[in-house]
Symmetry: C2
Subunit: 338 residues, 2 copies
DNA sequence: TCACTATGGACAAACGTTTGCTCAAGCAAT
DNA sequence: ATTGCTTGAGCAAACGTTTGTCCATAGTGA
C-alpha cells in the first residue's frame, strides 16, 4: 500500500544481479557457499541499490523481532532515565530496538498488552515493587526477562546496584571524618534497596563499634514529604551526620536542616548515594557515592539479549543475579570533619 | 523456529470453526459481510483459543507496523522523561508501540539506523538542537515526524510549550509582589526556548514599564556550572529578584545566593518554570510555573499518529505548529513581597 | 417459472524474507 | 569412460496475515 522509500527488496537486487533471491539472502547472511565472484557482485549491487532488508519480513520468517521491551514505573526517577539510555545503547549495539512502556502500577497487564500489539523477544522489568505481583506477571509469560534495580528471590536474572556497599562507603566516609553519631534516613524498609541501604549503614556502624540502634534510623520513603519529620527525629537523638538513602531525600533533608537553622555541614553533615546534577545545585553541594545507573541498564540489556540468544559471547549460558559495585565517593561540601 | 506461546494462529481458529481464514480475518476487522451466526461463532472460538493475532504478519501485509520512534537527547532532563511517558500513554491508547532511541548528538544517523533495524511509521524528534542538522535529518527521510520541545522554522509539525508565556507569568508574579528590578537568568540564547523565555521576561518588564536592558540578563545555559558567575552579574546590578530560565538553574542560583550570604527570598526572590520534585527539595522551596511536559509528549504522539493515519479523529488533515500553554503558577517560598 | 441481485463465504495471491531440497556442472577417482 | 563427490545456485515452500476475486445459495421482481 503506502510504500515507504526503503522499498528496495530482495527481489529487486535479484533482478539487478540476475541471480535468485535465495542466493542474495545467503550472501547477506554469510551462510551457505557462494562463489567469490557472485558474492562481490551481489554485495555491490545491494549497496548500489541501497538495499537494507525488511525487518518485518525477516521477523515473520525467523520469529525473531530483535526488539525488547523495558517497563518502567516512573521514568522521572533519574535512575531509570539513565538505565533506559544504557539499555538502549547496549540493545542498539547488538542490533536490537528498545520499546519503552510506562507502568502506572495500576495493575494493568502491560506485558501481555504489549506483546499482543507488538512482538518482543524479551523484557526488562523495572516496575512492580510488589514482589508477589511481579512473580505473578513473570509467570504469566514465558518471555525471557530480567528484573532491574533489585533482586527478586527465586529469580536468576536480576540486575541491581550494590546499594549496601554504596551505603557503607558513604557511612565509612562519615566515620573517617570523625563522626560517631550517624543517623540513617531510610528509604522504604521492606523493599530491596531500602533494606540494602540500611544494612550497609548498619554494617559500617557496627564495624566501627558505633551505636546503630533503631532510634538512629528514620524512615522517609523516597518522596520529600516525609523527610522533615524523619530529620527531626534524627536531630532529636543528637546526630552529627545523616546518611540519606537517596539524593532526593538528602536534598530534602538539607532543606529541612536549613529550616531548622541547623547549619550544614558545620552542625550536621549529610552524605548519600547517586550522583546527578541535583547534587550540584543544592547548597551545600552534596557528597555522594556515584552509582552506575546507566551501566545497570546496559548490563540488564546485555543479559537479556544473552538470554534471548541462548549464549553469552563466550559461549556459556548466562546465569545468576548481578550486583554492580557503586562508583566512587564524590566529595563535595555537605560533609565536614568533626 | 522458537515458537512463543502465543502461537495460536488464524489457521487454528479457522480449523476450529470450520471456516476459511479470510472470513476470520474479516470478522476480526469488522470488514465485509459475515452472517451474525458465523461471526459470533468465530468470535467465541477466537476468544476461547486465545487468539491475538500476529502483529508482525499484519505489519508485513499491510506495511503498517504501528510503531513510532522517539529520539531523545539526554533523557536525564526531566522534561523529556515526562514527555516520553506522555507519548507512550498516547501511543499505547492508539494501539501504537513506542521505540525510544538515545541520540548522543554525535552526528550518528539515528533515524536511518533505526528504521533499518526495525520498521517505524513515524518519529518524534526531541534531539538535534542544531536547526540545520535537524532539517537535514528530516529531509533525509520521508517519515512522518514531529519536532518536540521547539518550533522549527519551515516545519509544520512542531510541538512545544509556550515558555514565553510561562516566563511572563513568572515575572508578572514578581512584579505583582512589588519587585521592580528583576534579572533574567537566561538559558541558551539563540535557541528556541532560550529566546522565548527571554522574550517573555522582556514583555512582562516592558508592560510594567520596567527596565529590561541587557545588563539585567545573564546567560547561564542549562547546566549549573555557569550559574554562579551569572548570578554574581545580576547581583552586581542590584536586582531584588531573579527569573531563572529553568528549575535547575534556579536551584543553582539559590545555591549561589546562599554562598554569597544573600538571603532568599528576603533579599532576593527567585522564580522559574517547570515543576518537579526538585522544586520541593531545595531551600527555600521554589515558586515556579508548572509546565505540561507530559502533555507535550502526549500531544506530540497524537499529532504524529494523526499524521500517520492521515486524519485527525474529526476527519481533517492535521496541520500547524502547536504551542501548549503553561500550567499554573505554583507559589512556594522563594519569592517574597517587597 | 425465469433471470437477476444480494449475501455469505471460499480461494488464492501477495507482503519480503529464510531455508530445505534439488540439481547441474566440474572434477577426481576408479 | 563411468561413477561419485563437491561446489554453486535455483526452486519452492513457508512464516501469518489481508484482500481482491469468484462462486454458490437464497431471495427478489417480473
Amino acid at each position: 500500500m503506502n510504500n515507504r522509500n526503503s522499498s528496495v527488496t530482495l527481489r529487486d537486487v535479484a533482478a539487478a544481479t540476475g541471480v535468485d533471491v535465495s542466493t542474495i539472502s545467503r550472501v547477506l547472511q554469510n551462510k551457505g557457499r557462494v562463489s567469490e565472484e557472485t558474492r562481490t557482485r551481489i554485495l555491490e549491487t545491494a549497496e548500489r541499490l541501497g538495499y537494507h532488508g525488511n525487518p518485518v519480513a525477516r521477523a515473520l520468517k525467523t520469529a525473531k523481532s530483535s526488539t525488547v521491551l523495558m517497563v518502567v514505573p516512573q521514568i522521572e526517577n533519574p535512575i531509570f532515565a539513565s538505565a533506559i539510555i544504557g539499555a538502549e545503547i547496549e540493545a542498539r549495539s547488538r542490533g536490537f530496538a528498545l520499546l519503552v512502556s510506562y507502568d502506572k502500577g495500576d495493575g494493568r497487564e502491560i506485558i501481555s498488552d504489549i506483546s499482543r500489539s507488538s512482538i518482543i523477544e524479551g523484557v526488562i522489568i523495572a516496575s512492580f515493587d510488589d514482589d508477589d505481583r511481579l512473580r505473578q506477571v513473570l509467570k504469566s509469560t514465558d518471555l525471557p526477562h530480567v528484573v532491574l534495580n533489585r533482586h527478586l528471590s527465586g529469580d536468576e536474572n536480576c540486575v541491581a546496584i550494590d546499594t549496601r556497599l554504596a551505603a557503607r562507603m558513604g557511612v565509612e566516609h562519615l566515620i573517617a571524618m570523625g563522626h560517631r553519631r550517624i543517623g540513617h534516613l531510610a528509604g522504604r524498609l521492606g523493599r530491596f534497596n531500602g533494606d540494602m541501604r540500611r544494612r550497609g549503614w548498619e554494617e559500617a556502624m557496627a564495624a566501627a563499634g558505633l551505636d546503630h540502634g533503631d532510634d538512629l534510623v528514620a524512615q522517609a520513603g523516597y518522596s520529600p514529604d516525609e523527610v522533615p519529620a524523619a530529620v527531626d527525629k534524627l536531630l532529636a537523638v543528637g546526630v552529627t551526620a545523616i546518611h540519606a538513602a537517596t539524593l532526593l531525600t538528602a536534598a530534602a533533608a538539607i532543606a529541612r536542616l536549613h529550616e531548622r537553622d541547623v547549619r550544614v555541614p558545620e552542625e550536621v553533615s549529610v552524605v548519600t548515594m547517586h550522583d546527578d546534577l541535583l547534587a550540584r545545585v543544592v547548597y551545600p553541594q552534596v557528597t555522594t557515592v556515584a552509582l552506575p545507573s546507566q551501566e545497570m541498564g546496559r548490563v540488564a540489556a546485555r543479559r537479556l539479549i544473552d538470554l534471548i540468544q541462548g549464549v553469552t559471547p563466550d559461549g556459556t549460558q548466562p546465569t545468576g543475579n548481578l550486583l554492580l559495585p557503586p562508583d566512587e565517593l564524590i566529595v563535595r561540601a555537605s560533609v565536614t570533619a568533626l
